[in-house]
């Protein structure tokens, strides 16, 4: 019912400042879609256009079979949760929850029942007679969530709803929101969610699919797993994953990757996947996919700094003037020997090669990447 479709969506501010460059995206009914990207990449602008709070410069937005470009927010079957909660400061929690229903002129009994139901789901019954300023951040966020929930919308829109909370609360609210979505789905309501965040952890843990954005363009739309294992370009590769993927600039020469004076044989695992052999290439290696080896094909690097994290160690090493970060098990680290020159072998199955000229991942050919 409430799928969302963006067609060549564009936004120009003040007639000059183009911030959204032709977005096209299909969000399925009941899907949890996360928009993620660095600050200023127009996530909020896009979300606000879906909500109807921002005028659409060009393109179409379709929600549940209906073109909504010219509909007011209240007619779009949407509800929105704002970053700063945006609770009405002079109304009690009860009043905040029921405002929309009261504006719509619903009968009193129905409103009271709806408020009670939502309050029970979000465990905010004891707060119903408080003013927003008497709530903690987490409580206020739950009330804001309740205000969206009570409308029983087709589409939930979230704009960085957790970024004002402390880390612990954020983690628990993350779970609460995804649980709620699953619960609503199980009840057959199947609301679609569009969730904006700049936090990749939120994106990876919450989204059915993730839309990675940069500067008003979509970089990749994929499931969290696919995004991690098969980033379509350099931007996504560098954005998703902690610590960040190592992106080593070099060149492809006859199936080998050349960086400085070193030559790394790629083996058939990787070269079979390559759709082209760019002269100027960037090799992408996740820190977790290095292993310390004594012989065989590997990158030689000088250990600069090691961070002990408990069961694993983050090694910062210098390879031909480039910083390489690798994560190895603590035992493996202890067994490396005395020398501060280490040999790091990347797992060829999970290596990525990017064309430096356009940032495209050229190693996705055949799509046979091991998870």
């Amino acid at each position: 019912m409430a799928y969302v479709q963006l067609k060549n969506l564009e936004k120009v501010y003040n007639n000059t400042n183009k911030v959204v460059h032709g977005l096209s995206l299909d969000i399925k009914d009941g899907e949890f879609m996360v928009f993620v990207g660095p600050s200023g990449c127009a996530k909020s602008t896009t979300l606000r256009m879906i909500a109807g709070l921002e005028e659409i410069t060009a393109g179409d937005i379709i929600i549940g079979d209906q073109r909504v470009n010219d509909l007011s927010p209240s007619k779009r079957q949407i509800a929105m949760v704002f970053q700063n909660y945006a609770l009405y400061p002079h109304m009690k929690v009860r009043g905040n929850l029921s405002f929309g229903l009261r504006i719509a002129g619903r009968p009193k009994a129905e409103i009271a029942a709806a408020v009670d139901k939502v309050a029970a789901i979000l465990e905010i019954e004891p707060l119903l007679d408080r003013l927003p300023k008497q709530l903690s951040g987490g409580q206020a966020q739950r009330v804001a969530l309740g205000r969206a929930l009570i409308k029983n919308p087709g589409v939930f829109l979230f704009d960085e709803p957790l970024s004002n909370l402390d880390a612990k609360l954020r983690a628990s609210m993350r779970v609460r929101i995804t649980d709620l979505h699953r619960q609503l789905k199980a009840e057959g309501n199947s609301p679609t969610v569009v969730y904006v965040t700049h936090d990749q952890t939120e994106a990876m843990t919450m989204g059915d699919r993730i839309c990675v954005m940069q500067a008003g363009r979509i970089m990749q739309v994929a499931t969290p797993k696919e995004l991690y294992n098969a980033p379509a370009n350099l931007f996504v590769a560098g954005f998703i994953g902690t610590p960040e993927m190592n992106l080593v600039e070099g060149a492809m020469e006859g199936g080998d990757f050349v960086v400085g004076s070193q030559r790394l044989a790629m083996g058939s695992d990787l070269s079979g996947r390559l759709s082209s052999q760019p002269a100027d290439a960037v090799l992408g290696i996740r820190p977790q996919q290095f292993s310390l080896v004594a012989h065989g094909p590997a990158l030689e690097a000088k250990l600069v700094h090691a961070e002990f994290m408990g069961h694993e160690v983050y090694m910062h090493a210098d390879c031909e003037g480039r910083r390489l970060v690798s994560v190895v098990g603590a035992a493996e680290f202890e067994a490396r020997g005395q020398s501060d020159v280490i040999r790091l072998r990347p797992d060829p199955k999970t290596l990525h090669v990017f064309d430096k000229s356009d940032g495209r991942n050229v190693s996705l050919h055949g799509g046979s990447i091991a998870a």
Partner: protein, 301 residues
Amino acid sequence: MTDISLAKTSARTLDEAAAAKRARMHLISSVVRYALLFGVGFLMLYPLIWLVGASFKTNSEIFSGAGFLPQSPTVEGYVQGWQTSTPYTFGRFFWNSFLIILPKVIGTAISCTMVAYAFARFEFPFKKILFGSVIAVLLLPNVVTRIPQYILFRDLGWLDSFLPLWVPSALAGDAFFVFMLVQFLRSLPTDMEEAARVDGANSLQTLVFIVVPMLGPALVSVCLFQFMWTMNDFLGPLIYISSVDKYPVSLALKLSIDTTEAFEWNRILAMSVLTITPALVVFFAAQRYFIEGISAGGRKG
């Protein structure tokens, strides 16, 4: 053991001595500061105190000294002043003032809120030019418009009625209030209004249910300013009101000076005290909101 406890004791007494000294200094500085404040405050308030005191004196006593305590307090000034030298009591003039102030204050609050809301939250053609003219009006000296205004109201047949005194203000004619509310609104986040729109409220409902409550302190300030300025306005009524039965208190006070050959100062002073009482009462009743409103108006968002 003994040595240590001795050392401890002496250290403690040293500490205590220092603390006591600090407390004493603190006390002295407080006394000095408060004495100074009281002194200056008293000086500032003296005319007002004298006014109240003198209103209970007899006419002859008023000029006999600068002291404010009446020797034989009497309410004669109030009784006779209230009667006035006209066929009307002072109550009539208060009622007239009220008839001007009530529509003016209510009209100002409503009209200025709507105009400010439009300027602060909507895009419309010529907005910049229109807002520029609001500021221009703000900077325009009042005297410049006196004569054209008078001619306009004469042609409308509004002379010797209350209309010229409140209608312009009730139609957002006071640029200062519009400007003040616009500044206040700009400092408020728009999230709540957007949430209300998503909740299905139209612009008017958003204004009434969301914006006006948040605007509360600023609106209290607007009403207070308008109340006090209208209460004190002398020139407006002087120009437009000619019949005595329509005089507001500001004019009526002057009346008692005009018509009596030997000025009955105690009556004038007594009526002056009554005249400033409503303003004082309203001010102190609304003081908290008032101050909040003024200071919040200057806050940047």
